[in-house]
């Protein structure tokens, strides 16, 4: 059975391990419609919950009359803050050290805020009953502009009145949340004062929303006999949710089982805890029946998890030759009615201090002020690691603005400022240690791949033709070189609600040589069941096809902090490799025993241990697995399994070079992506097919954000983009094809050198698209224009530049 005729390469290929474009095991279910998402869960006697939501952005709730709703046949209960308050559940803690109303407690702070929770026999009756709940409101002045909010006498958070200290230090005003400062302010200001050139600009990254195709939902089932609560939900961090539910409900943690079933996309939307989760739990406890809550699309866009909304004032200093000497940034962060940002505790503005980007900037300063407004809470990392998209957009715009000021080519300006390969590990002015990188190689490869000089020549010719009246279309070349910071994170720096951000993997080898691995993460489309099995296959020499992956059930999986911020491969992937290595270490002892040699006299060979110098004497991993369960080996326990809780020593720093070529019609504002080239360096590549898929999807989300997607409010605080009619999700029709490419610079501290890739394309894509728009108009005097660059706004740029006669 041990085919000695196969070469080591052939045996390695049979494992379908790392580097193999292995087809996804998940797809067999998904393509047949056999996924199991939250709304597919149906339990006996299950009730359905639905919210009464505020039509006003800021109002006092004078009264809630449930009578008519309760009189409707099939309605079981209507919960309000008054009902939750004896349980202490009318407010809940946020991930950012603030608290948030579960149901309106005297007032509402954003349109769509949850006011009452109706529980009924089915979703139709619940929807009818929502209409029958009579709420009397008294409108209050609305603040939608964070700069106005910081000046206004209107107090949004009356519950915090008089509190001059928040979770992240002093509060300067009743609508102010925190100030977060990094870097050296005085030194940076001195550099700015003495610099040859200083470019200054306000860079706004607008409010948007992750909008996964599946909305958020949960099914809570309280078993009154056993006292055990089972909570199914759209949770990107099921273990953390279990702890939070335990802390706020008072239920013992061992009596709570949280299950994340299949998740229909997350992108950050499903990291936080929402009122619907809490209400489904309370309703199940109150009624003794399972209660399902699933939000509709409008509720999803209006009330859960906005992203971005950063006003970033920047100053960048350089010599007249273009060497950057300093960077200054002040950000006004609009957090909405509650500070519910999903960031590690010590980072109220996430990793915004990665805003020096890919550049060797000796001196820098960053300050972020968080502000309350009458908008939905959230501030999640929409396909990025904790505000990295904001940071990357900021620096990549500032580079372009500086290039204009210096009258330099933006590609060359980047090149002369990149951190050099020999400077890694690189200590940034804002406090990070970049693990590895080779930016010049990536940049040169990218420019060559798109024939950058040729593109600039095309553009010059197009400008001549435009000026001569021969065309109405401009050509923009959008450049980006981004550096991410992902894989949160070292427990010493990073925690969420006091939970250190390690992650975990447990592997059990079965006697017949197959295996099950359980992780603290949860896939939402990333293909963990496929790729983590590949890591194990390469590490222990069992075929990936014989390894089952399981995530998302807190009763069976080891504790972990979940999947977001591209942390699965950097953290749980490392835990997987480490657990596999523990198994291999034990396997070595078993093999040595079986081969009757000393432990050190066998060596690892793809899928077996062989006697050194006698490769024909070996034991395969499959044989070793059986022996682990069938032989009494002196000094060794039976069985073959291991668990690893991995606390990474550092973050990983994936990077990439993206180039977008865009045609823009100055009369209609319409755009067309002519070419998009994406080079990613995510370190060791586990599955190139999945990496390409992640890049395609992430760049498409970037396309959406840069070119039209936004959560917009009117001055009354009404959400203007609450349906997919108004909220831009690109279709196959306007989405271009992408060319993907790569370099490989492994992470030096990760066991397999992998860095994570899922979010790079969003981080790099947004500035690439936006810079393409700006670049098209640069020769005509445009310096900065805010996203999203929808047709109307592009038309306005052209109009403002006098292009319409």
């Amino acid at each position: 059975m041990n085919d000695q005729t196969l070469t080591p390469e052939e045996r390695a290929a049979n494992l379908k391990g790392m580097g193999c474009a292995r087809k996804r095991v998940e797809d067999v279910r998904f393509t047949q419609g056999k996924g199991n998402y939250v709304d597919d869960i149906k339990l006996d006697g299950m009730l359905f919950g639905d919210f009464v939501r505020s039509p006003y952005a800021h109002a006092r709730v004078v009264s809630v009359n449930k009578e008519a709703a309760l009189a409707l046949p099939g309605v079981i209960a209507v919960l309000t803050a008054e009902d939750l308050s004896p349980l202490g559940l009318h407010w809940m803690p946020t991930l950012a050290g603030d608290k948030q109303m579960v149901l309106a407690d005297g007032k509402v702070l954003f349109q769509g805020q949850e006011v009452a929770f109706v529980v009924a026999e089915d979703r139709y009756i619940a929807a009818d009953a929502v209409e029958l709940v009579e709420v009397e409101y008294e409108e209050l002045p609305v603040l939608t502009d964070p700069f106005e909010a910081l000046k206004s006498d209107v107090v949004l958070r009356e519950d915090l009145e008089g509190q001059t200290e928040g979770a992240h230090g002093p509060r300067k005003h009743h609508n102010h949340i925190f100030t977060w400062e990094q870097g050296d302010k005085d030194a940076t200001e001195a550099v700015l004062a003495e610099a040859d050139v200083v470019a200054e600009e306000m860079v706004y990254y607008h409010r948007t929303h992750p909008c996964p195709l599946e909305t958020c939902g949960s099914v809570a089932s309280m078993d009154k006999v056993t006292g055990k609560l089972t909570l199914y939900g759209t949770f990107q961090a099921p273990h953390a949710i279990r702890t939070v539910v335990s802390l706020i409900s008072g239920l013992a943690e061992h009596n709570i089982r949280v299950i994340s079933p299949d998740i229909g996309g997350g992108f950050g939307n499903k990291v936080g805890a929402y009122a619907g989760y809490v209400c489904s739990v309370v309703a199940s406890i109150v009624t003794g029946k399972p209660v399902k809550w699933v939000e509709d699309r409008m509720e999803n866009l209006m009330s859960t998890a906005f992203a971005r909304d950063y006003w970033m004032q920047g100053k960048i200093a350089a010599t007249k030759e273009g060497k950057i000497t300093g960077l200054w940034c002040h950000t006004t962060a609009d957090h909405g009615g509650f500070d519910a940002c999903a960031d590690p505790t010590k980072f109220p503005a996430g990793f915004m201090n990665i805003c020096t980007g890919s550049y060797d900037i000796p001196t820098a300063y960053l300050a972020v002020d968080g502000v309350y407004t009458n908008k939905a809470p959230g501030g999640v990392a929409y396909r990025c690691s904790f505000r990295v998209t904001e940071a990357a957009y900021f620096i990549e715009r500032m580079i372009e603005v500086l290039a204009i000021k210096l009258n330099m080519d933006a590609a060359e300006l980047r090149r002369i400022n990149f951190i050099k390969a020999n400077q890694f590990p690189y200590q940034s002015a804002l406090g990070w240690e970049y693990d590895s990188g080779d930016y010049h190689t990536a940049w040169d490869k990218a420019l060559k791949a798109v024939d950058y000089d040729g593109l600039r020549a095309d553009q010059a010719q197009r400008i001549e033709e435009f000026k001569a009246g021969k065309t109405r279309k401009l050509l923009g070349i959008g450049l980006t070189h981004f550096t991410e910071i992902v894989g949160a994170g070292p427990v010493k720096n990073c925690d969420i609600l006091g939970l250190g951000m390690f992650d975990s993997c447990e592997i059990r080898i079965h006697p017949t040589g197959s295996a099950i691995a359980r992780l603290g993460t949860i896939s939402q489309g990333q293909g963990h069941a496929t790729t983590f099995a590949q890591i194990i296959a390469s590490e222990i020499g069992l075929p990936a096809d014989d390894i089952t992956l399981e995530e998302g059930d807190t009763d069976t999986a080891p504790y972990g902090l979940g999947t977001y911020g591209s942390r699965s491969t950097p953290v749980a992937g490392a835990a997987t490799a480490m657990a596999a290595r523990k198994i291999r270490a034990k396997a070595q002892m078993i093999a040595a025993y079986l081969l009757e040699v000393h432990d050190n006299d066998v060596e690892w060979d793809v899928d077996r241990f062989a006697v050194k110098g006698a490769p024909e004497r070996f034991k395969t991993m499959k044989e070793i697995a059986f022996a682990a369960y069938n032989q009494a080996i002196p000094g060794l326990e039976p069985g073959l399994e291991a668990v690893s809780y991995y606390d990474p020593p550092n973050m990983t720093y994936p990077f990439g070079a993206y180039i977008c070529v865009m045609e823009i019609d100055v009369d209609t504002g319409e755009w067309e992506v002519r070419q998009f080239y994406a080079l990613d360096d995510c370190g060791t590549r586990i599955n190139p097919m999945i990496i390409d898929g992640q890049v395609h999807g992430g760049v498409t989300e970037a396309l959406a954000i840069a070119m039209g997607q936004e959560i917009a409010y009117d001055e009354m605080g009404n959400v203007k983009t609450g349906t997919l009619m108004d909220f831009f999700l690109p279709t196959a029709w306007e989405t271009p094809n992408y060319i993907t490419d790569y370099t490989v610079t492994p992470s030096p501290h990760h066991p397999i050198g992998a860095k994570g890739v899922g979010e790079s394309p969003n981080v790099g894509g947004v500035p690439a698209f936006s810079n393409a728009v700006h670049d098209a108009f640069r020769p005509f005097g445009l310096v900065q224009s805010h996203m999203p660059h929808d047709h109307w706004r592009i038309w306005k740029i052209a109009n403002g530049l006098g292009m319409h006669g």
Binding site: K23, R24, V25, E26, D27, V28, R29, F30, T31, Q32, G33, K34, G35, Y37, D39, D40, K42, D122, R123, Y124, C211, P212, L213, E214, T215, D262, G264, G265, F267, V294, D296, R297, Q524, G525, Q526, G527, A529, T530, T548, L549, M689, I690, D692, G693, V695, H696, G697, G698, V699, T700, T723, L724, M725, L729, T731, A732, W733, T735, N737, Y738
Partner: protein, 176 residues
């Protein structure tokens, strides 16, 4: 609310049940018939996750009353599996070309692609992109979906009509 009697053919089987006049087809399929392949993504006809095939047309079942389609012949993604339980051509090609990630849009995508290839057995890339524009995907960026549909068209066209069931069958592997 009084209920009406509904009779449908779904994936080749005759089914019947009681439904309120306002019951949406997606809810009847998912809640009453337990056919949970079609998903609810927007409830406004935009996303296409609920797409089913009704009497030879792609229809968004989240904005169709079951009463409107009484007596109709409906196919969902569950009905596109081969008779022996193996993946159909489109299902296999979506897997082969990594045309799905989270899987939530996939049932609607594949069901729409099935009809598209009936309408146009030799679509160009542009025709595929236009023909699929009623189905949103947040994960894939469509590039591999287009590839999967194009590959399916090639495969289906290569089949002789008489041996249509033999080609494109691949053993279904155990789900993870």
């Amino acid at each position: 609310m009084s209920k009406m009697h509904v009779k449908l053919t779904v994936n080749g089987k005759e089914v019947e049940g009681l439904a309120e006049p306002r019951t949406l087809l997606i809810h009847f399929l998912r809640e009453d018939l337990k056919i949970t392949g079609p998903h609810i993504g927007c409830e406004t006809s935009h996303c296409g996750a609920c797409t089913v095939d009704i009497d030879g047309k792609s229809v968004k079942s989240c904005t169709t009353f079951v009463a409107q389609v009484n007596g109709a012949d409906i196919t969902t993604v569950e009905g596109l599996v081969n008779d022996d339980g193996s993946l159909g051509v489109l299902q296999e090609m979506f897997r082969e070309h990594h045309g799905l990630q989270c899987g939530f849009c996939t049932p609607g995508m594949i069901t729409r692609a099935h009809r598209l290839l009936q309408e146009n057995p030799n679509p160009t890339e542009e025709e595929i992109r236009f023909g699929m524009a009623g189905n949103l995907c947040r994960c894939t960026g469509y590039q591999n979906i287009v590839k999967a549909i194009s590959a399916s068209a090639d495969m289906l066209n290569a089949q002789a009509p008489s041996s249509s069931e033999a080609v494109g069958q691949t053993e279904v592997e155990a789900a993870e």
